[in-house]
Symmetry: C2
Subunit: 326 residues, 2 copies
């Protein structure tokens, strides 16, 4: 049995606490991508829900437990998606939600957090500064601090994606998981390594935000001074030791990809799959583009984890000047 | 009991014959659209599957029945989506599929039909000419002719969308359904008028392809000489009498929308919902844009029925020059 912090029985039980709108998301072969990528590709689509990312799976657990027996208020730091999801889950249960985010986060993410009735506090720095501020608010106000990837609910919520992947037919050879704080990677990885250990669990991170990947490779926490990537959702600098420990148990590999590959992946997902995704959600396709030989003729699942992008940035990235045809 | 050609017990049974990848599609509130549209909007998303449209629901029935006890070959005329879906459903069951389409159909639809191993025959005319050619092929070769909207499987397959809508919470006030041949409108309409008669069933067609809407209004078949719309998926000229009879029993209204509204709808779905849709799938949003007062403060479901668009055309329609912000 895997000795991660995650618990399989709790993950199964989690499905009952999560609003159905976040569960049983589409999983389908996308053959139009395959001539370009040289392998069979299935998409697990986490964007067709009220917050357009997978984060609702975790925040439903957090908010559900709080509504049962916790304080009626919570605060989180967020690159934007966790905050939206916590705001959505909290609103439905009458919780007060505060989100701390970088003022450099995509405007659409910040707008949606506000629209969901959360209190939004902006810091003049990056995600790590938002984390510090959220800790301070929680201490000062005595509300629940929700820490992405550290709090087990965020990992076990994401792990429900893994349960859904197990039913995939035909079975897949590898799953590509965007790596940021590690909740999705440890969650999905825990389930796959428990029930389908033959499937390769591959984490993908931008070269411009490599802290967790470097940490995984060196088997100890490695931090970075800064990040430089359009993949705002995964741009952390300070991996959490407990999450790294879990990741070391469940990930078969962690790879870094270039910005140009992320943009090419977004363009391919648009033109060949009809999917608008945020940069973090194109990391899996980017990994295939950078190492076609590795995946040749295998069946790969990529989790399309979020679709919150500013329209202007998105159009610039995938815009008119580019041609993504093979 | 509604006296349409559709049968509720058969529709329920249909779910067992349809590949799960086409069933239980996402249904969710899309609040980001609501400030622009002035009403609560839920999206029923039919594009996240291997053929990127709802048509697989019907072709799974057709192909499933053929595999059991029919000829091992079928032919259909298609604007592009039915052909893709029949090719997909037929391929999985070892059936020979021939699709007849207009050479003016979107290249991506034709490419996908070929990629799915179907024989593709192009006619130098519109969808109605393709229909005539398909009839001739069926007669000549003795294979099954699949006629969209006339064949009850295409209607009852689409009707399974209606079953899924019944579980919606909160209940909705109206559902907007793209109207072409009428399979989706009569299918979904039959289920709603049977089990949720209070929900308004509103069909939406482009002003440039108004034959079925005019027929519904006059309660007799009205044909047109030509069509002029970017919504290729619904551009028919000759309504089928039996389908019109059913539509008269289940539709509360049929409205026509302008091309500019369809394009604006596509832009809104892209920028505010992150959805790439073909023009036919934006008809519902177009209808709200053209009559905000009618929908004000109501809860409306729009079925996003297809996402097969040529990348070039799509980028031109929703392109850089437009700003869809309110």
């Amino acid at each position: 049995m895997l000795e991660t912090r995650l618990d399989t029985a709790r993950i199964r039980a989690a499905r009952r606490m999560i609003a159905p709108v976040f569960l049983d998301t589409p999983l389908y072969r996308c053959e139009a991508l395959e001539p370009v990528l040289g392998c069979a590709v299935s998409i697990k689509l986490e964007t067709a829900n009220p917050v357009r990312s997978f984060k609702g799976r975790g925040t439903e657990l957090v908010a559900g437990l709080l509504a049962e027996n916790g304080p009626r208020a919570a605060v989180c730091a967020s690159a934007g998606n966790l905050g939206q999801a916590l705001a959505w889950s909290g609103r439905g249960r009458g919780l007060d939600v505060t989100v701390v985010a970088s003022r450099f986060a995509p405007a659409t993410k910040l707008d949606r957090i506000r629209a969901l009735d959360a209190r939004l506090e902006l810091v003049d720095g990056d995600f790590e500064m938002a984390r510090e501020r959220a800790v301070a608010i929680a201490g000062h106000e005595g509300v629940r601090l929700v820490e992405d990837s550290l709090d087990i609910e965020t990992c076990e919520g994401a792990a429900t994606i893994g349960l859904e992947l197990l039913d995939s037919a035909p079975a897949f050879d590898a799953v590509l998981i965007a790596l940021g704080g590690g909740a999705m990677a440890t969650g999905v990885g825990h389930v796959l390594k428990t029930f389908a250990p033959g499937a390769e669990v591959i984490c993908v991170q931008p070269s411009g935000a490599p802290a967790m990947t470097r940490s995984w490779r060196r088997q100890r926490v490695v931090t970075t001074e800064s990040t430089d990537t359009i993949a705002d959702g995964v741009a952390g600098r300070r991996p959490i030791p407990e999450v790294l420990d879990d990741l070391l148990l469940v990930a078969d590999d962690a790879v870094l990809v270039e910005e140009a590959s992320i943009i090419a992946g977004m363009g391919l997902l648009l033109d060949r799959a009809g999917l608008v995704v945020e940069p973090s959600a194109a990391l899996g396709i980017a990994a295939i583009l950078e190492d076609r030989a590795r995946f040749a003729d295998r069946h790969v699942v990529t989790i399309v984890c979020g679709g919150n992008v500013d329209a202007g940035s998105y159009r610039r990235w995938v815009g008119m000047g580019l041609d993504h045809k093979p």
